[in-house]
């Protein structure tokens, strides 16, 4: 659908630097009315910076923005909204403890009368009606009285889009909206996007997922290292070409790995149930057997019990009932340290929150699991020279890019921070590797490296339990795949026979598979 009208939005020569880093380097970009233009680029390419400039959250160092051929200045989000630009953020910008209605009013509140200015009474009823009407118009039904924290991810995203429409946006920026969705929810989102286009809206769609690009784009702009490196359309391009443009070199789209040779059972989970802090059963009767030398991938939409499952296995959370057995040792109620000591490595979901002490040096972070053991300590006193030796070794071996071993780990890039964790966890003698969202937010180079290391560990006979929200990651690394939905293992399959659509159905709970008992008891 090519449009020959004048662009509704143009960015001319936009440049923005942070210190010595040039995030956006003289970018030109046009958006035509009623089109979906994809902005493609990997993490750190400068997509978000560009959109934040457009939305008024940053100011460009150079360049200009034109709306309908008119030069405009966007100082803050208020200006952007006034000009009809709305943004659906990757992390939902909704206040969890407030209702849908309150969230939509926020920033531009309707009141009953205006006698007391900002202290007039909120007019919730009118806004409720407007939300219902708007929802009907665009096919985005939501309950206006629901509290946001009770909504599912998909629903919250509908609220987020509705919010932007409610504020009168004609240009919608969607920032990585599919990162948290199942394949089915993603298709639904694409439907919604097309219907919005028909009703006169224009959309900028930001992503790094190549398949989505071809499915939804009218036109594509590719960003690399802060520069636009190409404009194309789905018809003129292929996944391989886009990948080459995005990364700048040939990339392996799937990790290469040999046949797996499963050995003895390392991790045996029997009928595990876990209650959350708010007394909700978040994992129900979960059973799993993981063998040495295989990678078991757990797919599922975030928040279906994966995090709690991992916290229970690693001892961070007490399960409600059931058993966890690692190498014939019952560790159901063991402490995290006891579980570490039986040879478990854990690469946590949130590397900055759990995996690292950001205020400590790289060297110290590399011994975070072993500082109390020989050779680093005799149990009481620490030997700093051993810690330093170890750091030099690991920095070399795992190619950690750091100014020095004494540099604070907070100064490292995300990819190198993750390498510190991988180095620490994999260089111990381990039998079990538990790895949650190993590559979230990383660039392609780091992703390739980390995938390689995980497969190496498997080939050395480590049992790997992988949890990831990225279906592609699950599909390319796993030997076996299980799907979690609402705290249950709803399907288990060999990775060879698995496909995205089928997994997606399990992930949304619309399909369940009777598990083969004999398969488990073998």
């Amino acid at each position: 659908m090519k449009n020959n009208k004048d662009p509704i939005l143009s960015l001319h020569n936009i440049t923005k630097s942070f210190g010595s880093v040039v995030a956006n380097d003289s970018i030109y970009f046009d958006l035509y009315p009623q089109e979906i233009q994809v902005l493609l680029g990997e993490n750190g390419a400068g997509k978000s910076t560009l959109m934040k400039i457009l939305y008024g959250m940053y100011q460009a160092d150079q360049g200009e923005i034109l709306i309908n051929q008119q030069k405009v200045v966007i100082q803050d989000p208020n200006d952007a909204l006034r000009l009809g630009i709305g943004m659906v953020h990757q992390h939902f910008m909704l206040v969890p403890v407030m209702t849908v209605t309150e969230n939509l009013m926020l920033g531009d509140e309707k009141t009953k009368g205006n006698a007391f200015g900002k202290l007039s009474k909120l007019d919730r009823e009118t806004v409720r009606q407007e939300i219902i009407a708007l929802g009907n118009k665009y096919g985005l039904q939501v309950n206006p009285d629901a509290v946001v924290e009770d909504l599912s991810v998909g629903e919250a995203q509908r609220v987020e889009i509705l919010k932007v429409l409610y504020k009168g946006a004609d240009i919608l920026i969607l920032d990585e909206p599919t990162a948290v969705l199942t394949p089915q929810e993603t298709s639904e989102l694409f439907e919604i996007m097309r219907s919005l286009i028909k009703q006169g809206k224009s959309i900028i769609f930001i992503t790094h997922k190549l398949k989505e690009v071809l499915a939804v784009a009218d036109r594509i702009a590719v960003l690399r290292n802060g520069k636009v490196v190409g404009h194309t359309t789905p018809a003129e391009s292929s996944i391989e070409e886009l990948a080459l443009l995005m990364v700048g070199r040939e990339v392996l789209l799937t990790a290469t790995k040999g046949q797996s040779h499963p050995g003895k059972v390392v991790l045996n989970i029997k009928d595990l149930s876990i209650k959350s802090k708010s007394e909700v059963m978040v994992v129900k009767n979960f059973s799993l057997q993981l063998r040495a030398g295989e990678i078991y991938g757990i797919a599922g939409v975030q928040g279906n019990g994966q995090s709690e499952l991992i916290e229970a296995i690693t001892g961070l959370m007490q399960p409600h009932s059931g058993h966890i057995i690692i190498l014939n040792k019952d560790v159901t109620h063991s402490s995290p340290r006891q579980i570490t000591l039986v040879g478990t490595a854990h690469v946590p979901e949130d590397r900055q929150k759990h995996g690292l002490v950001l205020g400590f040096s790289v060297a110290t972070n590399l011994v975070l699991q072993t500082y109390y053991l020989p050779p680093f300590s005799n149990g009481w006193v620490i030997y700093p020279e051993k810690v330093e030796e170890n750091a030099d070794e690991k920095i070399d071996e795992f190619d950690i890019r750091t100014p020095s071993r004494d540099a604070l780990v907070s100064n490292l890039s995300g990819g190198n921070q993750q390498k510190v964790i991988i180095a620490r966890e994999l260089s111990r003698p381990i039998n079990l590797l538990i790895i949650n969202q190993p590559t979230r937010g990383l660039d392609v180079g780091s992703i390739e490296y980390i995938h390689k290391r995980i497969i190496e560990a498997r080939d050395k006979g480590v049992a790997v339990l992988l949890v990831s929200a990225e279906l592609d990651e699950i599909l390319s690394l796993s030997d076996r795949i299980g799907v979690m939905y609402a705290g249950e293992l709803v399907a288990e399959m060999d990775a060879k026979g698995a496909n995205r659509e089928q997994l997606g159905l399990y992930m949304t709970g619309s399909k369940k598979e009777k598990m083969l008992k004999e398969n488990i008891n073998q």
């Binding site: 690693t314 001892g315 961070l316 402490s335 995290p336 340290r337 006891q338 579980i339 570490t340 854990h346 946590p348 949130d350 929150k353 759990h354 995996g355 690292l356 002490v357 950001l358 205020g359 400590f360 110290t364 975070l368 699991q369 500082y371 109390y372 300590s377 149990g379 009481w380 006193v381 620490i382 700093p384 604070l408 907070s410």
Partner: protein
Amino acid sequence: MAIFTALLVSSIAILLSGASPIKAFSALAVGAFGTRDNLIETVVKATPLIIAGLGVALAFRGGLFNIGVEGQLFIGSIVAVLVGTNFDLPKIINVPLVMLAGALAGALLAAFSGYLKAWHGAHEVITTIMMNYIVLRIITWAIGANGPLRKPLSIVPETRSLFESARLPLLISDTRLHMGIVIALALAAGVYFLLFRTVLGVEIRIVGKNLHAAKYVGINVKRNIVLTMALSGGLAGLAGAIQVMGIPPYNFTTGFNVGYGFDSLAVAVLGSIHPVGVVFSALLFGAMDAGARLMQLRAKVPIDIITLLQGLILMFVAANQIIRSLYHLPAPSKEDSVNLTQSWGGE
């Protein structure tokens, strides 16, 4: 720089009260360093600040804000008095015994706040401050008119003096310089070793920097919090015990030690929560305390200007960014901040 700016600002306060800041501060300097006895007084005043300041710094490293040093110091003193006025053992046993009793009292009091935080999520800032008031009231009662510790026939609220065997030996006879400073310096070395060279120290610092990571690497966070508070309170209690054991008339009265709790806080922050820094900043504060009397005498400036000065120093050190922008200094390369609000909501 922070100290210099604080001096400038407090000069304004002195000017407003009609005195001369130059006269005031020179009197302060003479009072602190002018004679041998003044110098000794500076050291004597700095001694409890070093020990209590180490306590605050230790807690800071563990992510805990022990603002209850005042109460822990008081209870350390009073328990030291309790033991030191009732047991008259040989000096070689009695001195360590009385010190230990004081330290233990402070440790228990602080550990209770640590327990409330670790198991019940009550923020230590509030519980330790409440403890300060509770301890103060109980002590006021204990040495009040009919209190059990009141020195018989005394007209002011005070306790009996410690037995000779419970007093700290003097380093130089006929002066006020007692053994306390040696103990304080040894403790500084000990705290340094503990924090940076031992397994326990690493664990304290991990908990202080990142609670989640601490749980992830398998540290028993709750136990660690209680232990850190106990160590911190133990140091404060010891500071209190050493005060009554080292300074004539070797007893406890109400006006005694007031303000040491908050001063030690400022000392710890000014000393960049590092044991060596604490020693130097405590000496500085000791000098200010020692010189204040002469300043009041010569320049007619109330002693409370010192509290103000110390508050300002704390502010400018904490907000070192203000100082950097005032003097156009470059930002430091290594950040070593503490994060005390990480558990404000209670986790």
